[in-house]
Amino acid sequence: MGFLAPWFLGGLLALGVPVFVHLLRRHVTVPRPVSSLMFFERGVQSSTRHRRLKHLVLFALRTALVLLVVLAFANPFVRRVAANTNGRLMLIVLDNSFSMRAGTHFADAKQRALTQLAAKPKTQRAQIMAMGGQLQILTQPISDSSQLHSALEGIQPGEGHASFGDLGRAVRALAETVRTPIDVHLFSDMQRTAMPSNFADVVLPVNVTLTLHPVGNGAPAPNWTIESIDAPADLADPKDPRRSRVFAVVAGFNTPAATKTVNLVVNGKTVATRRVDVPANGRATVEFAPLDVNYGFNRCEVGIDGNDALPADDASVFAVRRSDPERVLFVHAGNDTRSPVYFGAALKAAAGSSFVLQSVAQEEVTDFDPSRFAFVVLSDSVALPAIFEHAVTQYVAKGGNVFIALGTAAARRAHIPVWDGDVTEAHDYARPGADARTGAAAAVGQVDFAHPALLDEHPGRDNGGWAETRVFYAAAVDPRGTRVAARLNDGAPLVLDKQVGLGHVVLLTTGLENLTNDFPLHPVFVAFVDHIARYLSGTERLGQARLVDSYVQLRPAANSGSEQGSVEVIGPDGRRLLSLTEARAARTLRLDRAGFYQVHLANGRDMVIGVNPDRRESDLQPIAEDVQRLWSGSAETGASQTEAASNPEEKYRPVSLWWCVMLLAFLTALAETAFASRYMGTQREEI
């Protein structure tokens, strides 16, 4: 603290005025003569003291007034850390991923983050982020410590999977937006699995300084978990030995060899127990068969006993629906007898007893109601009865799904039922003079393995089995407004997905028999039929288990909400997650918590989803220290450039206090006026 105009302090000599008036002059008392003291009595001492006290208060006020006025003219100032002058932003990132539930990791990290925040200069701006399943920006860059403190206090341990790659991207985006030096303080357990495979994803810009605050003692604690579960989502026959079983993989991270007890709990009751020997840092598979469940949705859980570092991952949940086999309407041309055979065989081989295929010639399908079937297959059926075609169109509009395979009949009749499009031309690759690129047959060039009908998480080098497939004849359709899931090597669409109303129509531009292609003769055909059956019947969405922070689609994305019904979602805690407005408009739902979600879709279907935390969070192994040093030193160049500027002891700026002092002087003057007029004014004498 100092004074910008110290020579005005000479005005303090004016303090002598109140001192003289109150302390010095007061001793010179002129006695007052009276005729006689006969009727007088000496005054009570306490009353005199009281009056003297009032005068002392007045003296103090007057002295303070003179002092404050002099100080105001001397212009006092305080030295403030000029942290915001160079604009460094403190970014506090608190990891609240699932792994932070281990021990006291989260509490320790939060406490250290609060300590870091408390050490922040008041004028420095800071921002709070929570790194769980998604990177949450909890505050804007502000300097209000209380708001930052409350934001940090409000972070609770989550169940998501942390990703340092997401953090790196967010910080890079923030650095481009803020354009000021950023000090990133990361409070985390530095889990190895949160590190992306590409280190470049976590490299920070040069104006960012990263400080890591790892929690835990460095040595990872042993932890067992149910790493994965393989269970049927839909079960028609519990006695089916191929499907009525549950495989659970017990994994140990940094664990010695141990024998673990694994329990299968269905609807709250333990129905089976297995003991399994888990090797050190290894995995073991446990099978529960048969899976005896009741009709409807069954909430199942596989758990292991024993305490470890992260008890929250000792159980995994999944849902199994038991229902009668669903019927599939297979409409084929009258002269086509091969396609129902191939499709039916594949469906039986893949989905087992979940579906029953009912094949009908297109001329005889008039009286069939499509809504009674799980989905409808139109195999080379381009000349449907008008009534049935209308019924199928309505069926799709209300949420039904149709699979259309275009055979040779498409060349004769360009109209494609339900599809809302025509065949533009037919590619006959087998005829002489065909495209030189394809030769006598076209191969499958591109496959979208992310499409539910072609789903393959780890497709092989043979293009997921599609490389051997040969297509001799294919119809060409306009792909606009559709999702092309597979193309031939000449670029012609092979599998297209189109949303019509609330339903989906999947179009295969070639047939299901072995005349227009050899697709049914390859193993990938069974997988394709399995996937297409589950996709179109909706059972794939009933799915066994999802991960936290995944999304579930509540209604088709392309349709307007006005013509749809409302959806309803009941969360793991038994509460409705959507408001009435959201229930009529929400298209997707983020599953941000572990447990069972009960969902009533807009098309009337119900499903129960078991949601588990990402099992990568169970591996508590931290990042190697050299990698941590490498990461935090990745911005070393920028840090060294800004080191001098960030030295808080060198940057101060004077903040003048004259207006505060003047305000105090004004208030003191008011108080002095009030006191003086009350106690020193002329008193009216009552005679």
Binding site: P31, P33, V34, S35, L37, F39, E41, G43, E686
Partner: protein
């Protein structure tokens, strides 16, 4: 003329005789004519002659008309003797504004002397005292008496303190003839003591009047803050708070006045409270009333 009787105006007049003349003339001019008022010889009654009566009083005119001898009786000359006992102690020096109590007392005394000698032809004298008799001018109607009295009043400077008991026997020696004795003082003494000291004057047939001179602030003192008060007679100091002066003191001085009034009247004496901010006619009126009673 009435305004000249106001004490504040009189304080500006240095000459006592002028003050007295101003007061008395103004006072007399303001009186109504009264059948009881007159100082010449007046016929009173006829009485039958009896042997031994003085023949000088026989109404010979009536004897000539009726041959009966009657005595003609007149109201006799009723000259009175006025003696003023003036307290000249230090307490009479107090003032909260002109005039001082001592000056006010001088005005009253001078006015009484002027009224008595000039208008009434009464003998007038003065005794100035404090704790003892300081000055004495014996009552007389001789020429120059008024000047002597005024000179005595001029000399009467306050000092010492009041003591009624000690100069009492001097009063009795000086007042051996009946008359009117007027005691002018502020009477800062116990009423019992005062009455006991002055009461013997009454026994000699004197009419005794107490003129109690007080300053307005002695009755309603004003203290804005606690103050140190000094007794003018004893130099004793005392710190007094305004709350006391506003409440208890007033009650005590009022009680003192009332007690003095009741005790003096019980002793057959008259009492008159004269506040220095009021006109002097009350004092003159009181004297005339007493003189009328004596006649």
């Amino acid at each position: 003329m009435q305004r000249f009787i106001e004490p504040a105006v009189l304080a500006g007049i240095s000459s006592l005789d002028l003050v007295a003349k101003t007061v008395v003339d103004g006072f007399v001019a303001g009186l109504h004519r009264s059948p009881d008022f007159g100082f010449s010889q007046e016929f009173a009654e006829y009485r039958a002659y009896t042997p031994g009566d003085d023949l000088r009083h026989v109404d010979w005119n009536l004897f000539a008309r009726t041959e009966r001898c009657y005595l003609k009786r007149y109201r006799g000359e009723t000259n009175s003797q006025l003696t003023v006992l003036l307290d000249a102690s230090n307490s009479m020096e107090y003032t909260s504004g002109p005039p001082k109590k001592m000056d006010y007392a001088r005005f009253i005394a001078a006015s009484l002397f002027y009224l008595a000698i000039h208008n009434q032809r009464d003998a007038a004298g003065v005794i100035v005292f404090d704790e003892k008799v300081r000055d004495v001018v014996r009552p007389s109607t001789r020429p120059g008496q008024l000047a002597r009295l005024f000179a005595a009043l001029e000399r009467a400077e306050p000092h010492a303190r009041t003591d009624f008991a000690r100069p009492l026997h001097h009063f009795q020696e000086l007042l051996h003839r009946r008359g009117i004795a007027i005691v002018i003082s502020d009477f800062y003494e116990d009423p019992e003591t005062i009455v006991r000291a002055i009461e013997p004057l009454r026994f000699r047939g004197n009419e005794v009047v107490l003129f109690h001179i007080l300053d307005p602030e002695e009755i309603r003192p004003v203290l804005k803050s606690s103050a140190i008060l000094v007794d003018l007679e004893t130099d004793q100091k005392m710190e007094v708070i305004p709350e006391y002066a506003k409440t208890s003191y007033r009650a005590r001085i009022d009680a003192h006045i009332e007690r003095l009034r009741s005790r003096t009247r019980a002793a057959g004496m008259d009492y008159e409270l004269l506040v220095t901010d009021r006109s002097l006619d009350a004092a003159l009126r009181s004297y005339l009333a007493l003189r009328k009673e004596r006649n």
